[in-house]
């Protein structure tokens, strides 16, 4: 399951980087070469960056590659190390669950309720913000998976 999700995320990220690149190059070209600045590229790029940042963050969490000061986890061994790692992943889950999933869903709900739309593309902002709870769920899942995969302490 994790493998499938990570694979899908990887493809999504490649597409996002590709689309953002083309989008901004298009903006530069439309302004300097065709003298007809496009109005939507600016906004689209910002939205795609939110998606790239958040889904990328979930991907990096899945690969356990976020920057951390890992002096303490490195020093501990056996049971203590395992307990600390469970605590760390647990704290990550608490953040993702509370802020990204609960706060994010409420944010999406509010923006749909108020029918907030983006200025030039007229996209409901809820679609942009939905990346917050979605990546939050992924972060919870990956961290849970990491806890379950921890090497059991030797007796």
């Amino acid at each position: 399951m994790k493998g499938i999700l990570m694979n899908a995320l990887e493809k999504l990220l490649v597409v996002l980087v590709g689309v953002i690149t083309i989008d901004v190059i298009w903006q530069v070209a439309s302004r300097y070469i065709f003298n007809n600045p496009s109005s939507f590229t600016d906004e689209l790029a910002g939205f795609l960056l939110i998606w790239l940042g958040l889904f990328g963050a979930a991907y990096v969490t899945g690969r356990d590659e976020h920057l951390a000061i890992d002096i303490l986890p490195q020093k501990l061994e056996g049971k203590q190390k395992r307990r600390l790692q469970i605590l760390i992943y647990g704290l990550v889950i608490i953040f993702a669950l509370a802020v990204m999933v609960v706060g994010g869903i409420n944010l999406v709900y509010l923006t749909f309720l108020l029918e907030q739309k983006s200025a030039s593309l007229q996209v409901p902002l809820g679609f942009v913000y939905i990346s917050i709870p979605l990546s939050g769920i992924l972060i919870c899942y990956f961290s849970l998976e990491s806890i379950l995969n921890l090497q059991p302490a030797k007796a």
Binding site: E10, L13, V14, L16, V17, G18, I20, T21, V24, I25, Q27, V28, R31, Y32, D42, A45, G46, F47, L49, I50, L52, G53, L54, F55, G56, A57, Y59, V60, T61, R63, E65, H66, L67, A68, I69, D70, I71, L72, P73, L84, L87, I88, L91, V92, I94, F95, A98, V99, M100, V102, G103, G104, N106, L107, L110, V128, Y129, S131, I132
Partner: protein
């Protein structure tokens, strides 16, 4: 009283960092805990979620993934070796020539790629072996490589200066980029001085003088990479395009250069390059998202004002306060990566120094230069880790040669702090 919230914020952050929670999540969690104490839960969580997302919705931040992407193309596209060759014909025949070559290559590569870690791995991977073959000690070579890699963060284009521009509420990126040149050169030259003396004492070999023909050939080979700098910086400074547009141009330029002309990157490598780019980008973006959440919480709790009042009660002398701020930032830099440090401490310290009449452009450079030192120190120096990694040497061994280089960096920091002209001369020349 607010002081309890402040205590909660600082304590929870330090504890979370200390037990090894990833930095971005530590920042987010401590902001969350603090806000939950002073606000009803659902609005607090929703506000934080919104801050995280809106922090990323910024056109100028887009320059970051693009400069990272351009750096990736350069890393794999054979640009590093061409820059090293150029540096060699420039300074190879001075005493300690190869050390100078390492420093200059790092300055050039770091400037073009905007990443100290990329410079440390691309240049170090090549230079440390080369230096060892010619009789330099490995620890000295690695120390040179590690410290000089940070110069690229100050010499433009530089992602961290873009982040500072965001954190400071819109200081001109063009002015910051121009301001980075002289302090970056000063830093490079201070490191070169130490390297020169060290090499002279240890009687390290002097390289051969390059003939005119070779000089021209090597310069021409490196020319396309250097031209990129001219296009990007020239375009931004002249106001022809924004930093983000320039970074997109840099992507096209490096992609064409490494795929069509140097032919060292193939189409099948591109998805991998995109993945690497999105990983590095996401690490930075999550830090930006949660740091902006935290800095919102801090201003909600009036922390910047309280710090500023506290600082002014200690002293109202500009030089003393700048010294205190520098000392605080040095400690911060030892334990924290540069991006969150800039995002969290800019809103706290900038109002204080602006009250003292300091130019925000000047403060940005001082702050980044200061935090560069922390990148080379344990326990969390990312450049240190990459540098010892590519040199295949232990951290303990590299500390001794690092000490004189740190002193050189500190000296450069003091000069840049107390002589604003070093920083502001160039931007003023261009009318900023």
């Amino acid at each position: 009283m607010d002081s309890i919230e402040v205590l909660i914020l600082i304590l929870s952050f330090v504890i979370l960092l200390g037990i090894g929670v990833p930095i971005a999540y530590s920042i987010g969690l401590s902001a969350m805990i603090t806000l939950l104490v002073s606000m009803p839960s659902l609005p607090a969580l929703t506000t934080l979620a919104q801050r995280m997302a809106t922090a990323l919705d910024s056109f100028s931040l887009l320059a970051i993934p693009f400069f990272i992407l351009a750096g990736q193309f350069m890393n794999r596209g054979g640009i590093a070796t061409r820059l090293i060759d150029l540096a060699k014909v420039l300074v190879g025949r001075l005493p300690g020539g190869l050390a100078f070559v390492n420093i200059i290559s790092c300055m050039l590569f770091g400037a073009i790629s905007g990443s100290a870690v990329a410079a440390a791995s691309a240049i170090g991977g090549f230079m440390v072996d080369r230096m060892e073959k010619e009789g330099y000690s490995k620890s000295f070579s690695a120390a040179i490589n590690i410290t000089s890699s940070t110069t690229g963060l100050i010499i433009p284009p530089s992602n961290i200066l873009i982040i500072y521009s965001l954190a400071s509420g819109g200081v001109s990126i063009a002015a910051l980029f121009l301001a980075g040149y002289m302090p970056g050169l000063l830093l490079g030259m201070s490191l070169m001085t130490v390297a020169g003396v060290w090499a002279y004492v240890k009687k390290y070999p002097v390289g051969q003088t390059a003939g005119f023909q070779e000089f021209t050939r090597k310069t021409l080979r490196a020319f396309p990479s250097l031209l990129l700098l001219v296009i990007v910086i020239g375009g931004i400074v002249k106001g022809i395009f924004t930093a983000t547009e320039a970074s997109a141009i840099a992507v096209v330029y490096t992609a064409v250069l490494s795929m069509v002309f140097y032919k060292e990157v193939r189409w099948k490598d591109v998805p991998g390059i995109f993945i690497e780019t999105s990983k590095t980008t996401a690490i930075v973006m999550l830090l930006i998202g949660t740091s902006m959440g935290m800095s919102w919480v801090m201003s909600f709790e009036n922390i910047p004002q309280e710090v500023s009042t506290a600082l002014i009660t200690i002293s109202d002398n500009k030089y003393v306060i700048l010294l205190i701020i520098n000392l605080i930032l040095l400690c911060v830099g030892i334990f924290m990566d540069m991006t969150p440090a800039v995002l969290i401490f800019t809103p706290i310290f900038l109002p204080v120094v602006e009250d003292l009449g300091m130019d925000p452009v000047h403060f940005g450079i001082v702050m980044v230069l200061n935090l560069c030192i922390g990148l080379c120190t344990p326990p969390v120096g990312s450049v240190l880790f990459v540098g010892v990694g590519v040199a295949k040497i232990s951290i303990q061994k590299v500390i001794k040669p690092l000490v004189p280089l740190f002193l050189a960096m500190l000296l450069a920091l003091l000069l840049v702090t107390y002589f604003p002209e070093i920083t502001l001369w160039l931007p003023r020349l261009f009318g900023f």
